[in-house]
């Protein structure tokens, strides 16, 4: 970008005829309508225990962050350049090789929590992380184009409000790409990664595979194999066992998955469409069509042939089942 004394595009100082012409052209679309009369408020509904538990979890996580943020004392881990502010509660943590209870995590440095410590980390201006005990995270990079962290081991929860793909977390075996909202990541000593999406959508990527995981789903990524096939959080043991066999390298397990899959498992079936051979895919297509239907614009032969555009169109139709309206409370 060329330096300039004025910056009409940003602050309307100076002039830029090309931008002004576009403004004049596109200004016809500016929104001017007044607010319509809002409808009467819905009475608060009784929440199911699961929704209450999920909401309680979010509040607890927020409370941890607030408590952590307000706690004082301790030496800082200073960052000369860009970094993420953090604070620790409940025990010691190491940052940049020293003990720290609060400070700024610089790019390239690790934050490591002890067995009793919980750290709150601000993700620039787009969200926050809670890093649970016995965890090790690193800030890889941060800037206007995005923010990247690494979870080497342990557990964290992330809550992000930003355009898709702006925040990513690498684990030893996969990369979690935020497509909006909230999730948990756990990495065990072998690097095995568990993703639980609590709100919005996350893409878990690696080894040439992409797992599309909307709220309420879980994905396991394993060393040498990358992200597995997402399953609903309330999937049956039979479905989980069949998916584990498939992800472990047994294509024949597709038959078992199809056999036990119910309406809640459409997310599993859809993800299988891009992981199976044409013959296996045909059985998945038939079951998915049977369970959830198929838009007229999605032809069976295209999906069976592995047409990525057709598979994406089907996902768009299915998403109404998977994603809540407002990201903050599960759709009933």
């Amino acid at each position: 970008m060329r330096p300039s004394m004025s910056d009409y595009l940003f602050d309307k100082t100076g002039d830029d005829p090309a931008v002004a012409e576009l403004e004049g052209l596109l200004g016809a679309y500016a929104h001017r309508a007044p607010l319509r009369e809002p409808p009467p408020r819905e009475p608060r509904r009784r929440r199911r225990w699961l929704a209450a538990a999920a909401a309680g979890g979010l509040v607890a996580a927020a409370a941890v962050i607030v408590v952590v943020w307000r706690s004082g004392g301790g030496e800082g881990c200073a960052a000369a350049g860009p970094g993420f502010a953090f604070s620790v509660e409940g025990g010691p943590a190491r940052c940049g090789g020293g003990v720290a209870s609060r400070g700024t995590l610089p790019v390239g440095e690790w934050l490591e929590t002890s067995s009793s410590a919980v750290a709150g980390v601000r993700i620039a201006d787009i969200g926050q992380l809670t890093v649970f005990p016995d965890s090790r995270v690193r800030l890889i990079g941060t800037g206007a184009d995005g923010h990247r962290m690494q979870l080497a081991r342990g557990k964290l929860s992330a809550r992000v409000v930003a355009p898709p793909r702006l925040f990513v977390i690498d684990t030893p075996v996969a990369t979690a790409v935020d497509l909006g909202c909230a999730y948990e990541l756990t990495v065990d000593r072998d690097g095995r990664t568990l993703l639980r999406v609590t709100s919005g959508v996350v893409s878990l990527e690696g080894h040439g595979l992409v797992s599309y995981a909307p709220m309420g789903t879980e994905v396991v990524a394993s060393p040498g194999r990358g992200p597995g096939t997402p399953v609903a959080g309330d999937a049956t043991d039979a479905l989980r066992a069949a998916v584990a066999r498939f992800d472990g390298g047994a294509p024949s397990a597709v038959g078992a998955i199809v056999e036990v899959a119910g309406l809640r498992d459409t997310i599993t079936l859809w993800n299988l469409l891009s992981r199976t051979s044409a013959a296996e895919r045909a059985t998945v297509v038939a079951r998915l069509d049977e369970l959830a239907g198929r838009p007229a614009s999605v032809r069976v032969e295209d999906v069976v042939a592995g047409d990525a555009a057709a598979i994406a169109r089907w996902r768009e139709a299915l998403e109404e089942r998977w994603i809540c309206l407002d990201c903050f409370e599960r759709q009933r």
Binding site: F10, E21, Y29, A30, R41, D125, D145, R165, F328
Partner: protein, 197 residues
Amino acid sequence: MLLALELRAAPAQGRSVDAREATVAELVTASHGGNRAAFASLYERFHRVVHAIALARVPACDAGDVVQDVFADAWSKLTRLRDPAAFPGWILTIARNRAIDAARRQRPVDVAGDLLVDPAVDPPPRLEAAAALRTIRELPETYRETLLMRLVEGLSGLEIAEHTGMTPESVRVHLHRGMKLLRERLGGDRAVQGGDR
């Protein structure tokens, strides 16, 4: 602060108040209690960013409906928002989800849909405007919304930052990178021959 107290003092009466000095959190708190004037002030502050988010995904003729749906939804669910200061991120998330829903259900985004806007709009958009809008929609999502907030809604970079929670520097970078891409893609259009800042 006096204004905020006034808003809280008459939470459900819906009377007209001058809420220009109130913070977003104060307006949300008052709206939470049923104060429609406070909610109308929130609408005044956020309807343009919500519209830009909608316009990034649906035809112009449908974007206005998305805005109204978003605010109707926000009004009915406001009591679920525990942290009033989180309202900007919350309303933007509702807007994105509503717009995505609308894009799935409604007509494909095409030039016709972008020429059919509110009849009260004077002058109506020209074909070149529809083409420019379509080109912006084809830009990476990161830049699309920010450019529409600036070029369509006329918000300054600082206003965009204030309403989206992005830093001013992020907004500046998104605007310039998005504009550079837009210029490249609009190619020979005389509207895009200016230099890159």
